[in-house]
Amino acid sequence: MKQSIRIGTGSGWWGDRISPAAELAKHGQLDYLCFETMAEATISAAQVRARRDTNFAGYDTYLEDRLTAVLPACLANGTKIISNQGWINPDAAAAKAIEILRQLGATGIKVAAVNGSLITERVLGLTDTILENGQPTQTLADTLISAEVYLGAEPIVRALAHGADIVFTGRVADPSLFLAPVMHAFGWDPLDHNRLAQGSAVGHLLECGAQVTGGYFVDPGFKDIERPWDLGFPIAEVYQDGSCVITKLAGTGGCVTLQTVKEQMLYEVHDPAHYLTPDVTVDFTTAKIELVGPDRVRVSGVSGKPRSPTLKVSMGCQEGFVGEDMFFYAGPGALRRAEIAKTVLLERFKIVDLQSDDLRIDFLGLNAIHGLATPSDAPEPYEVAVRVAARTRTRAQAEKVGREVDGMAVSGIAHTGKRVPFQDRVREVIGIWSSLVARDAVQATVTISES
């Protein structure tokens, strides 16, 4: 058995850069390269798209770009790939990978598809209560688009045990994608909660890519880094006891410091002593972090508690539409013109009887980002965008927002800057609700094909 393994992040979200993954595949001396490509609404959005667009394959829209960029080096270096790019169709993702492998002349490569996360048809029978509002999940019956369980590392470990070189999953908890290869490499017991907690911490630190190597970090004068335009993606060297060193490729921009690791450790965490994953409950409050070299931070001492008997299920529902648009003012008196423009719009919305559940008119440049938290003494901006958004039940209501902003062009206020509408000003809202499902109600399956 190896004393340690090296895991790299290939993507921290769907839209992430691709070239840092290619660099890692080439030079990272990796055992595993893991891709995380999903947000909360990814599956539901994919379901909606699949209904409308029969050509949509149901997996990560960048799957081909990502695989093409990393596969030659991964094959040459014996690096295995673990990825949640399967979205609503892991089988199709696997088939696509096999097609690309054959084009590259690579035969005998095993590609696994992990299914079982999607439980849309039976979710209402398996769940009771919506966690966010305490209502019965049955109240979602009419609007439900998709329900998916957050699977853990176990089915991926099974795929690796069957010799898979590449694994595609649907919904899997993000840290589990990275924990799985550690469990497989070191033969960890799935109930060894202290070890699994350490492996999950590794996954948590890696799952957002550059957010641990200097991304989402620079604040000039307070937190400066080298070459923020060329961030290296992270590598974890993981040891048998579960401790790890977080690092990155030499020569890339960014940094791995105590600060970057601390910030990522608490990212999207609520109670730091009880970070719930399908595999284990992680306690970050016992972690020890040390700078052990340039761009090398050692993380040890993360502890765990036994996993919960339930799994989280995420349910995406149709909840109407958002209409939005913006227009602009600049120069002396810009804010005064923006304010009267806001009054004009509010009156216009009464005249056209806009029916909305929520409406916001913000001044971008002053208060559109921090909203009510904007200090009352914030300085007046030289330029300001008036940004309008309304949430509505119907598309027709949402379209009123853009149509009334159109009216500001020739019927509005002096010096109104307008853009030609270049994008759809209405989007669908897929509301996300959560519930819990018994662990044994969900059986993941692993299918392996060969190139």
């Binding site: 947000a39 909360e40 609404a41 966010e132 989402y216 604040d219 004068g221 307070f222 937190k223 600060q259 601390k262 910030e263 990522q264 450790m265 608490l266 990212y267 999207e268 965490v269 609520h270 109670d271 730091p272 002593a273 970050f284 409050t285 016992t286 972690a287 020890k288 972090i289 909840e319 958002v322 939005e324 929520d358 409406l359 916001r360 913000d362 971008l364 559109a368 980002i369 921090h370 909203g371 009510l372 938290a373 904007t374 200090p375 003494d377 300085p379 940004r387 958004a389 309304a390 949430r391 809202v429 897929i430 509301g431 996300i432 959560s434």
Partner: protein, 121 residues
């Protein structure tokens, strides 16, 4: 002397549903007790002036000199429903950098960054 939080700590926010967690990390262990005393959950919520509609829970994470403020109702109903431009609230963590605290006068050399002023934060 009175200084903005940005001179004592760095911050990062993350989203889950309609809840934003805004973590505050002391630049020096020495700063941690000052943050504990002055940056309470109540003051944190009040500073956001209505932008956080639910409760704020503060978790102490002493091993990394940090506090995690879990802010319910900070994301306009959740990422997909949020009418704000920054749906995920990834910029929410910068607002609290303007929170003011009293620190000993002789800390001047330890504080981070340039002295901020009104025109250029």
């Amino acid at each position: 002397m009175r200084v903005k939080l940005q001179r004592l700590a760095h911050t990062r926010s993350g989203d889950k549903g309609n809840t934003s967690n805004i973590a505050v990390f002391a630049f020096e262990p020495l700063f941690f007790p000052v943050l504990r005393e002055q940056l309470t959950a109540e003051r944190f919520k009040a500073f956001y002036n209505g932008a956080i509609t639910g409760q704020v829970i503060r978790y102490e994470v002493t091993n990394i000199d940090a506090f995690n403020f879990v802010c319910e109702g900070a994301l306009g109903g959740g990422v997909s429903r949020n009418l704000g431009l920054d749906n995920y609230g990834k910029a929410l963590s910068s607002a609290i950098l303007g929170f003011e605290l009293d620190v000993p006068d002789d800390w001047g050399g330890l504080l981070r960054g340039p002295v901020s002023d009104f025109v250029r934060w």
